[in-house]
């Protein structure tokens, strides 16, 4: 019996797992820390510099060079551990993980093995209205490797490969979860929540596309109710949140297809191919690496001062879960709004600043979620850019006040906001310059209403026949005639006044 079926399983697009199976998923997540210098030397960690310009004997692993631990990296890792409810080890140490690869300058990676900095934590997820607690096995520190640039797609078959060591020695934390996740969706939600937390902590820019957030996933299947774990595969190359979910779903269906045919899942490492939407075998676990871990003799053990840890704990910012909760109660926002607003601290901050100055929080929320996030998406900017533009809050509040006062309508408000953000000019100024003031003059409005009624006898007839929605159509016609400047509320009243209540044929 073949261990892998050759054909690709059918994978439905909706959120579901193969019938009769439960997935057991654990994640290993690497997060690059946003320190200014590398973890064992003073080189810059800046992303995108010309190759091999941020290097020194230490991060190149030249003979005789020695690592000196960056305290800021320890602080950041501790912050992450505390945010994930971990125990912070009073005594941690570094170990060497030995293996040969051209991007690994010392042929070992300084990492943590049996005494990691943080362990036994958890992260709470809200999934479909329920709270799921996902265990964190450990959070440990390690160093980045260099980066290989191959002459063709992969190292095998390349004529040559070049190495850029700018990344070598950038501090990393590896977060390992318990196999507590049950669906690909949960895995994605976990990763998104983790990303938010890192952003709130200010310790990483967590960009999957730049590799500062990377995820490998382990998945196995079993029958619901069973406690034993099935054979797992490890999926790598997951470069987007969407890929995590898609790859795991694909892998669940692939494994189910094998198991249902009576086959055995091969324990192996598989890569995700986003183009074909399938996982592909990379290497089997038979050739498992022996990393020959042993204590790093060049770095003394890390003895953490309790008071220092407590100081960091006290200085932790409000985290996304707490902030969501607060938004729901303080601003009476729906859970959905709180979720969207709190994903990124800059967005939440922005909302809070605007909500402090405008009485209707739900309206502010709508505009932030709708307009502000749309504007960011359109320009491809990171939400963090909001922090750099405090005047945008003024623009939004200005627009909301104009709309509330009936000076412009919502549609015009959206245009004005966009232009304010783009040009930096005040909303009122734009409204004046572009003549967008809402027309509230009843005589003018009545003229348009009469015109609309006169040219749309069908709508008038159906309104009189009892179809109230027809009034909306007429209001729309008036808006058109006014080129968007009519006050839709007043127009609605005028239409009713002209035609009387719906269903009353004249």
């Amino acid at each position: 019996m073949s261990e892998r079926t050759g054909r690709e399983p059918k994978v439905p697009s909706q959120q579901q797992l193969p019938a009769g199976w439960e997935a057991v998923i654990g994640l290993e997540i690497h997060v690059e820390l946003l320190t200014r210098s590398k973890v064992f030397c003073g080189c810059s960690t800046e992303f995108g510099a010309p190759p091999n310009t941020h290097v020194c004997p230490v991060c190149l692993g030249l003979p005789g060079s020695l690592p000196v631990l960056n305290e800021k990296a320890v602080e950041y890792a501790t912050r992450a551990g505390l945010a994930l409810h971990c125990e912070i080890a009073p005594y941690a140490k570094f170990d060497r993980k030995n293996y040969f690869y051209p991007d690994l300058p010392k042929a070992y990676q300084i990492s943590q093995y049996d005494l990691p900095l943080c362990k036994n934590g958890y992260l709470e997820l809200r999934v479909g209205g329920k709270v799921r607690r996902i265990g964190i096995t450990r959070v440990h520190m390690e160093e980045e490797t260099g980066k290989l640039v191959h002459s063709t797609a992969t190292i095998v078959g390349s004529q040559y490969s070049l190495v850029d060591y700018n990344r070598s020695g950038v501090p990393l934390i590896e977060i390992v979860t318990q196999p507590d996740l049950r669906t690909p969706e949960e895995a994605r939600l976990f990763l998104e929540e983790l990303r938010s937390i890192m952003l709130y902590l200010g310790i990483s820019d967590v960009k999957m596309e730049e590799g500062s957030l990377r995820c490998d996933a382990n998945i196995s299947l079993r029958r619901p109710g069973e406690t034993r774990l099935g054979t797992k595969t490890e999926v790598k190359n997951l470069n987007t949140f969407r890929a995590v979910e898609r790859a795991l779903r694909h892998e669940a269906f692939r494994q189910a297809a094998i198991l249902e045919e009576g086959g055995r899942v091969l324990q192996e490492t598989r890569g995700w191919d986003d183009a074909t939407g399938a996982t592909v075998p990379m290497r089997t676990k038979e050739t498992v690496q022996d990393y020959r871990y042993f204590p790093e003799p060049d770095i003394p053990p890390l003895v953490l001062d309790r008071a220092w840890v407590e100081q960091i704990r006290k200085a932790l910012p409000e985290l996304p879960a707490a902030r969501r909760q607060r938004f729901e109660t303080q601003f009476s926002l729906p859970a959905y709004d709180a979720d969207v607003l709190c994903q990124h601290p800059a967005v939440a901050d922005f909302f809070e600043k605007a909500a402090a100055r405008f009485p209707d929080a739900k309206t502010v929320s709508n505009w932030v979620m709708g307009e502000i996030l749309r504007l960011l998406k359109a320009t491809g900017e990171e939400p963090a850019v909001l922090g750099a533009h405090p005047e945008w809050v003024d623009h939004l509040v200005g627009v909301l006040e104009l709309v509330q006062a009936g000076k412009i309508n919502a549609a015009a408000g959206k245009e004005v906001l966009e232009e304010s953000v783009r040009t930096g000019r005040a909303p009122e100024e734009i409204v004046r310059a572009r003549g967008l003031e809402q027309v509230g003059d009843e005589a003018k409005l009545r003229e348009w209403v009469k015109q609309a009624i006169g040219t749309n006898p069908d709508a008038v007839a159906s309104y009189r026949a009892g179809k109230a929605q027809a009034a909306g159509f007429l209001v729309g016609q008036v808006m058109k005639l006014s080129r968007g400047k009519a006050n839709p509320k007043v127009v609605g009243e005028l239409v009713q006044r002209e035609l009387g209540p719906p269903g009353q044929g004249s």
């Binding site: 004997p57 003979p63 005789g64 020695l66 030995n98 070992y108 095998v156 020959r292 042993f294 770095i299």
Partner: protein, 511 residues
């Protein structure tokens, strides 16, 4: 002016005084040493690289500074201010073991794999000696990656013992010891992982100090076994060892294992004598395998120290037997990891292969000698899954026991006095085919590294075949002053009769 030939065997202190008084110039001193190297090194082969131009530049700079200092002193009120100790290395020629990185100067570590490696940085100890105005003559030979006890494992040929050219100078710092013994340098630096400074010092009749782990920076010292390696001086006198130690020791922010404590006034302590000091003699160091001549020389030195007022107490090192196997698990384990970086990707030798794995393994096949390969294999095995607990972890536990043995011994004894080596220098080739016999050479020294303690090797006599014999003084951590104080007493009491005035014939007459 003094006889330049005599200057080749003078101490740092004597030469510094002459330089200070303007009797000689640093340039003359450097040139005399460069000539001596030309004259005797073809027979000894201590040097791998001589940097005459660099040395003469440093000497010229030293002469300028000496002139400035003299001028400042003569215009001062005092007749002649005492020469500051920090100026004592100004203009003094020295030899650097090729395990220490030197900016712009080829650094081979005795290995084919680094044959053409020119580091863009200097080891902290080299920086410090440069800063003190010492004149580096060149890089000296060693066992490849400091693995060996005879300097026969160098990829660039053996170094010969100046006292008997058919014999080994000891290792791995054989070039460092031979250069000092043959008048090719006033002092040298070596590195000591299991006895690599003390053994060649003993075999070549010089003083060799292995400092407490963490007192001397390892930055730029090409790692063999990181938890054991320590840089130390080889000198003609104990006082010189103190001087060089003071110049190179002290906290280095580039080395996380370097001790954040000030270096005490070691030189001041050296002349205090041994009256009232308790010398521990442990029978474990005087058992089977020890050459009778060495036993007699060491015990006779101890009797002299007793006459000087030292007290002899019995000490015990119950776990000493395990030091050798423990060492040969831990050192190769660390070495297997430290030497993995030589893969032909970034620097050093590269032998191309059809794929990257083939390139790695061919580069390492061609670049490493047999002893290095043997230890990499040993270490890889000891660390591998399934054997780690049985070998590496167990060895670390026994290492702790050995450390406790010393702690216990130092409750009753101020220092331990032991032989350095069980035998006098052996003949070239004698032990090359028998690694275990070779490893036994370091049996008295390597426990000191396992415990991270200071140890000094000081000449205490000659064997009947007129080969030098060394005595080892071991002290508690950070007791460099104390071990040198005992060594100084040995030097003073035995020196006059047995060592003073003796010089290797080749160094005097050439060959």
């Amino acid at each position: 002016m003094s006889d330049l030939r005599e200057l080749l065997f003078a101490s740092i202190e004597e030469l510094s005084a002459l330089l200070w008084q303007g009797e000689i110039t640093a340039r003359e001193l450097a040139e005399a040493h460069l000539r001596q190297i030309e004259r005797v090194d073809p027979a000894i082969h201590a040097y791998l690289t001589v940097v005459a131009d660099r040395a003469l530049e440093q000497a010229a700079e030293a002469d300028r500074k000496l002139a400035d200092h003299r001028k400042a002193a003569s215009t001062g009120r005092a007749s002649s201010p005492p020469q500051p100790a920090e100026l004592s290395l100004l203009g003094i020629p020295w030899a650097c073991k090729d395990v220490l990185c030197t900016r712009g100067v080829r650094t081979t570590c005795g290995s084919r794999i680094l044959e053409h490696f020119v580091p863009p940085y200097s080891a902290t100890v080299v920086e410090r000696l440069d800063g003190a105005g010492a004149v580096m003559l060149g890089k000296v030979n060693m066992d490849e990656f400091a693995m060996g006890s005879s300097t026969e494992n160098s990829a660039f040929g053996v170094t010969r013992n100046p006292w008997d050219l058919e014999r080994v100078p000891g290792g791995s710092s054989g070039g460092s010891a031979a250069a000092v013994a043959a008048g090719e340098a006033v002092f040298s630096l070596g590195s000591d992982t299991g006895g690599s400074v003390r053994l060649p010092a003993a075999y070549c009749g010089t003083v060799g100090l292995k400092p407490t782990y963490g007192t001397v920076s390892r930055y730029g010292l090409i790692a063999f076994a990181s938890s054991l390696d320590q840089v130390g001086p080889l000198t003609r006198t104990v006082r010189d060892a103190a001087l060089v130690f003071q110049a190179i020791a002290g906290h280095d922010p580039l080395d996380s294992t370097s001790a954040p404590r000030p270096v005490g006034p070691v030189l001041e302590e050296v002349e205090k004598g041994v009256r009232g000091l308790k010398l521990g003699l442990a029978p474990e160091y005087f058992g089977e395998g020890l050459s009778p001549a060495i036993r007699e020389a060491v015990l006779s030195a101890v009797r002299r120290l007793e006459r000087e007022g030292a007290e002899v107490v019995e000490a015990h090192m119950p776990h000493l037997d395990y030091a050798l196997p423990v060492y040969y698990l831990i050192a190769p384990s660390e070495a297997s990891s430290n030497l993995a970086r030589y893969d032909g990707v970034r620097y050093g030798l590269r032998t191309p292969g059809e794929d990257i794995i083939a390139q790695f393994s061919r580069t390492r096949r061609d670049g490493f000698g047999p002893e290095v390969k043997r230890r990499i294999m040993l270490g890889t095995y000891a660390l591998s899954a399934g054997y780690y607990e049985a070998f590496y972890l167990k060895a670390q536990k026994v290492r702790t026991l050995i450390r406790r043995d010393f702690e216990e011994a130092f409750r009753s004894a101020d220092v331990l006095v032991t032989p350095v080596s069980p035998t006098v220098p052996f003949r070239l080739g004698e032990k090359v085919e028998d690694p275990l016999q070779m490893y036994l050479t370091d049996i008295y020294t390597l426990s000191v590294n396992l415990a991270g303690l200071p140890g000094v090797s000081v000449p205490c006599g000659f064997s009947p075949e007129t080969l030098p014999i060394g005595l080892q003084v071991i002290g508690p951590a950070f007791s460099e002053g104390r071990v040198l104080r005992v060594a100084r007493a040995v030097e003073r009491t035995v020196g006059a009769e047995l060592t003073s005035g003796r010089r290797p014939a080749v160094a005097v007459n050439g060959r």
